[in-house]
Amino acid sequence: MTKDPDAITDTVTEAELRAGHNLDHEVAKEDVIQLIGMNKWYGDFHVLRDINLNVHKGERIVICGPSGSGKSTMIRCINRLEEHQQGQIIVDGVELTNDLKNIDTIRREVGMCFQHFNLFPHLTILENCVLAPMWVRKEPRKVAEERAMHYLERVKIPEQANKYPGQLSGGQQQRVAIARSLCMEPKIMLFDEPTSALDPEMIKEVLDTMVQLAEEGMTMLCVTHEMGFAKTVADRVIFMADGQIIEQNEPHEFFNNPQEARTQDFLSQIIGH
């Protein structure tokens, strides 16, 4: 199941990536994430229904849909914050099963940003960033701190390194959360409504950071209501409702020429005002 991801990117052209959007994934080894016939229930409630999704390396995917449609649940299944009951999830060649070793391997490769940032309030910004590299990847403190400062500079808040999360604004906290995930040098980043808990004037600074990350070729899955972000950076927009993927397309087509009635409804509601 092992493969060399770098070797694969060389062979994947832009055109091939675009072609991949038509759900025609003949060349399976391009995919860093595969969800195959995935189902999930909360008790009797069927939250995710037969989800099939393939994500290429370097692809930027925006997932939208009404609340309760299972968007968050789906991406939370990818790093096993939620357990799926049927089907397969394969991340970077490793299948998610109850095997704790596989879960650990996958979590090391997949970074995640939450709606409520979830920084560790008892640790400083720098300690938040070096904790996982030091304890999970066993890096010496000096190496971890250097990389943490590098990423804090990239999200433009190196001067806050020794403050506590409680002393930062929401936008700053979310940027720290992104930097904290990047410190583990993940191959894939998951964003679970990263701007939903922010004041309007702080949304832009977080989106800018995400755009920058997207431009650097990170594989991203992003649950968001920021349609501007979807239009500018997404390679593919996925619309979910009632636990199913209703429609997916590249952004221009998705916004201008939605095929399904549900999608048209949803778009008219969020763009109509």
């Binding site: 096993r80 409520h116 008892h122 904790l131 583990m184």
Partner: protein, 365 residues
């Protein structure tokens, strides 16, 4: 349209600062408060002089026996002459330096914790929780390194109280943490065992635990398995208090938002690391008042060992009071015992407040 003019900061009105304002706000702010203030002043006027007279001005400090006490004031001579017994119990005279060194070591660990910015403070604290009990144990029990063996039934007084409560505190905290984590475990067996343990020990009074430990247990144990009464009491107290501790800590664990667990998991931290690095530091900090409450309760509960024949400080005081040589010194004795307990409990309370302030990282969200 008025033009915007920046206004300068002015000092507050005189009536809101200074001693006069303090008196106004705190003592005579309403008619009821004025009445209460006057009543309190009257009580102080009536009660304080007789108390001071009894405890200090007419009290007897000098002398060696009951004849030195005039009877008008407190007979502190009694406390003075029996201080050795109150401190060491029946610990043999020539060996008491070992107890003194133990007290000194304890002080060397505790005092730095109260001093801000003391070097290696944390390490001293850790040593106090790990190495100190071992060293003090060897020192007090003896029987090795050329020290004479001292039977534990000779221990007593303040020393015994401190041994019981220190061991209880040091052992109950880690046990409590493990039990609290176990009670929230996803593994049914672990959870069941922990729930059963906690509910069992919380459901019985400490007195009956101590009775069981000292009277019943030897009946069930095979011949020759008998071990120290003090050790049995220590185990009983530790089990009992760790059940309470577990519930206090569980309260803290439940207050930690789910997002913290998820963030730790998403970063690849396993169960023990996310508990040890993320969850427990926050949870324990939240429940410092509850933990210290349990410690204080434990400290005072150690007096119950009296009923299994161990003489803690209260028991030594009590047995001295009934000594016919000293008539009517009960008040002095009990005040002394109460004062000893108060000093330690108040110390713990102050320390917990200082710790809370220090650990507060301004993250109320």
């Amino acid at each position: 349209m008025g033009k915007y003019v920046e206004k300068e900061a002015l000092p507050p009105p005189v009536s809101t600062t200074g001693p006069v304002a303090w008196v106004r706000q705190n003592l005579v702010s309403t008619p009821l408060n004025t009445v209460l203030t006057l009543f309190a002043l009257y009580l102080i006027w009536e009660l304080l002089p007789p108390i001071l007279n009894w405890a200090f001005f007419e009290a007897n400090f000098i002398g060696d026996d009951v004849s030195a006490c005039s009877g008008a004031g407190a007979c502190w001579v009694f406390i003075k002459t029996r201080l050795g017994f109150f401190t060491y119990g029946f610990y043999p005279d020539p060996e008491r330096w070992r107890v003194d060194i133990s007290f000194l070591l304890l002080a060397l660990v505790i005092v730095p914790q109260f001093i801000k910015g003391f070097p290696y403070k944390a390490w001293i604290g850790v040593a106090g929780l790990t190495i100190l009990p071992v060293i003090v144990g060897i020192l007090l029990v003896g029987g090795m390194f050329g020290l004479n063996h001292v039977e534990t039934h000779q221990w007593g007084g303040l020393m015994l109280t401190l041994v019981l409560s220190y061991v209880g505190i040091v052992a109950a905290l880690p046990f409590g943490v493990i039990l609290a984590l176990g009670r929230r475990s996803e593994m049914p067996t672990v959870r069941l065992v922990c729930v059963a343990f906690i509910e069992l020990w919380r459901g019985v009074p400490l007195i009956s635990v101590l009775f069981m430990a000292s009277v019943m247990l030897p009946l069930f144990l095979p011949e020759g398995w008998d071990f120290e009464k003090l050790l049995r009491a220590l185990i009983g107290i530790t089990m009992f208090q760790s059940a309470y501790m577990a519930e206090v800590i569980r309260g803290g664990l439940q207050a930690i938002p789910k997002g913290q667990f998820e963030a730790a998991a998403a970063l690849g931290l396993g169960y023990w690391r996310s508990m040890g690095l993320i969850i427990l530091p926050q949870a324990l900090k939240l429940v410092i008042p509850g933990i210290v409450n349990t410690f204080i309760a434990l400290f005072k509960d150690t007096t119950l060992v009296l009923i299994i024949g161990l003489l803690d400080i209260l028991a030594t005081v009590q047995s001295s009071i009934v000594d016919p040589k000293w008539g009517g010194v009960a008040t002095e004795g009990y005040i002394f015992a109460a004062f000893c307990f108060w000093v330690f409990c108040f110390g713990m309370s102050r320390y917990s407040q200082a710790l809370e302030r220090k650990l507060h990282t301004g993250h109320k969200r």
